[in-house]
């Protein structure tokens, strides 16, 4: 290796580590300050805690109604994602195998709808289902799940549609001859073959729904049905600048998704990469 090359590669590593520091220091700050008291946080946010105090966590878990909130978020995210995946795969399958005029028009409308900002739909949405039909007070969680399926289908169908074209029709014909009906052919033969894109779509939907704030903040008006982001907002309003409570609360909110990322980082990164190519 020449001297020039060594300098160049040192330079690359230097940039990479400066970038790394920029990307992770907020998380490190969160972790070390979760165990400190207000006084210590304000005078010295960068030091390790003088003693590791877990008391704030139990305090926050009680004050945030953490278990209920976590359960709500989990329920809404899992059910919505599951239904989006099934319904979108079925719709995309039908559109690819039966390219009728109606199906083509529907597909075009779906793709076009992706440029509509949520802000242009939220007011009529709240007006129709809140002021008119009163469903927001009656069944907030099922309604929110319905909304997620509706908003999530366009991108998911689009991605399944792109992938479906690569599945050979001969396999299905063989299944048909062996006596499968359309539903059996789809669930037993086609759906398992969609696994790579299904993983991608599921990951993208989980990240979106788990973190979404504006829609649930408009639909969920009662503390018993709050999701994590909505609860975090309320908590922040109540304990403004009370960092010894706010920081553990933020950490508890982000921890579930960070743990998920640690377990499945490879498939998450690959999933996002696959999703972008389609």
């Amino acid at each position: 290796m020449t001297a020039k090359k060594i300098v160049a590669s040192t330079f690359v590593y230097l940039i990479a580590f400066i970038a790394l520091a920029c990307f992770i220091f907020p998380f490190i700050l969160l972790m070390i300050n979760s165990f400190k008291s207000n006084g210590e946080i304000i005078t010295n946010p960068f030091s390790l805690p003088s003693h590791w105090d877990f008391a704030h966590f139990s305090d926050v878990i009680a004050k945030m109604n953490f278990l209920v909130t976590f359960k709500n978020s989990l329920l809404i995210t899992l059910i919505s994602t599951l239904l989006i995946v099934f319904f979108s795969a079925m719709a995309a399958y039908h559109m690819v195998r039966k390219p009728t005029k109606y199906n083509k028009i529907f597909f075009t409308i779906l793709v076009a709808s992706m440029v509509i900002p949520f802000q242009s739909l939220m007011i009529p949405l709240i007006y129709i289902y809140g002021a008119k039909l009163q469903l927001i007070d009656l069944i907030p969680i099922p309604l929110l799940i319905c909304f997620y399926i509706g908003f999530g289908s366009a991108l998911s169908i689009f991605m399944f549609h792109g992938f479906m074209k690569s599945i050979p029709i001969e396999v299905e014909e063989a299944a048909r001859i062996d006596g499968c009906n359309t539903l059996q052919t789809f669930f037993l033969i086609v759906f398992p073959m969609l696994k790579p894109i299904t993983v991608t779509i599921a990951i993208l939907n989980v990240l979106w729904i788990w973190n979404d704030y504006l829609l649930p903040s408009l639909v969920l008006n009662n503390e018993t049905v709050y999701t994590m982001p909505v609860q975090m907002k309320v908590f922040n309003g109540t304990y403004m600048n009370n960092w010894e409570l706010l920081i553990p609360a933020i950490l508890l909110t982000v921890l579930p998704i960070l743990i998920m990322y640690m377990i499945g980082q490879k498939s998450i990164i690959n999933g996002v990469m696959q999703g972008s190519i389609k």
Binding site: A19, V115, Q119, D212, L214, I268
Partner: protein
């Protein structure tokens, strides 16, 4: 006699064929409903009906959401055009869009270039750079509030750096750049992943050939890599444009539009108009204007960048 028999047989087969055909049509209709039905229904009740109803809403006037609607023609649009705060928030959003689209793509591409250059730890670096994308804008805003309000001033105090000591979020100009910085931090990792996918697909022999012809690293980047990366840029610019126009969560949690409404973006203005002032008609008219702007800008972007695509 025989002729009659033949007639009868053909008559029967005709009937049975009709029955089969009708049965087939029925099952095909049943299948269509089964496979397309759920998505169609949910898409209709959350996107199609609210979109059409939203346009109807802008043509009516009501004093509060529970009052009856009165047809008012273009009044809501006239109000929207007269709403100075709407236009100032829109102008601010456009500045935000320009700043974030530029920097997010620059940083995202830089990171992708860095982690495809053959470092041993590049996979771990990708994982780390992507982390902020896992967390929603609202919570990120609270995390960075701690950074801007507590940590940076404390650091400035310690090191004696005066510009760090200032509270960024209390100054209108700095607060805007705080939003830009956090957006870059949040989304450039996502764009990096898209760029990595593009960079990997560039044929190696093309780069080798240029190397042999004597092109330096910079020339190779400008004349070979970048033109071949146009399809990736189409996607990343589209995504960053749309995200920036619609920014709400981060805006709400980091600055709340303050100080003195100096960082109030258009989404937040629309939310306030509709749900704080309870003016659904004008709020929806402004949301429709926002939709038209986003549709036109992204349409133009995709059209022109598709034109720039080249074959390897």
């Amino acid at each position: 006699m025989l002729a009659k028999k033949v007639d009868e047989v053909s008559y029967h087969t005709e009937i049975s064929q009709k029955v089969i055909r009708r049965k087939r049509n029925l099952t095909s209709l049943g299948n269509s409903m089964l496979f397309l039905g759920p998505s169609t229904i949910f898409f209709a009740i959350t996107v199609v009906i609210p979109f059409i109803y939203g346009i109807y809403l802008t043509l009516n006037k009501m004093d509060s959401p529970i009052d009856a609607m009165v047809f008012s023609g273009m009044l809501n649009y006239v109000n929207a055009f007269k709403d100075a705060e709407f236009w100032s928030s829109l102008w601010l959003t456009i500045k935000f869009v320009v700043a974030t689209v530029f920097f997010v793509n620059l940083v995202g591409f830089g990171l992708a270039y860095l982690v495809t250059s053959g470092m041993k730890i590049q996979n771990s670096l990708r994982t780390a750079y992507f982390t902020p994308n896992l967390i929603g804008g609202l919570v990120l805003g609270y995390i960075w509030q701690f950074v801007f309000v507590q940590s940076l001033p404390a650091l400035g105090e310690k090191l004696g750096i005066s510009w760090l000591k200032l509270g960024w979020l209390g100054d209108p100009h700095m607060a805007f750049w705080a939003l830009v910085i956090v957006t870059i931090w949040q989304t450039s990792g996502y764009m990096m992943i898209i760029f990595i996918a593009g960079l990997i697909s560039i044929p190696k022999d093309l780069i080798e050939a240029a190397k042999i012809d004597g092109a330096g690293a910079f020339r190779r980047l400008i004349n070979i890599t970048l033109p071949l990366m146009v399809p990736s840029f189409v996607v990343t610019i589209f995504l960053s444009l749309k995200n920036a126009f619609m920014v709400y969560d981060l805006n709400f949690s980091l600055t709340k539009g303050g100080p003195f409404n100096s960082t109030l973006m258009v989404s937040m203005h629309v939310v306030n108009k509709a749900f704080v002032e309870a003016n659904y008609g004008t709020g929806q008219a402004e949301a429709i204007i926002l939709f038209l702007i986003v549709a036109i800008v992204t349409g133009i972007q995709v059209y022109f960048s598709k034109k720039m695509e080249v074959e390897a």
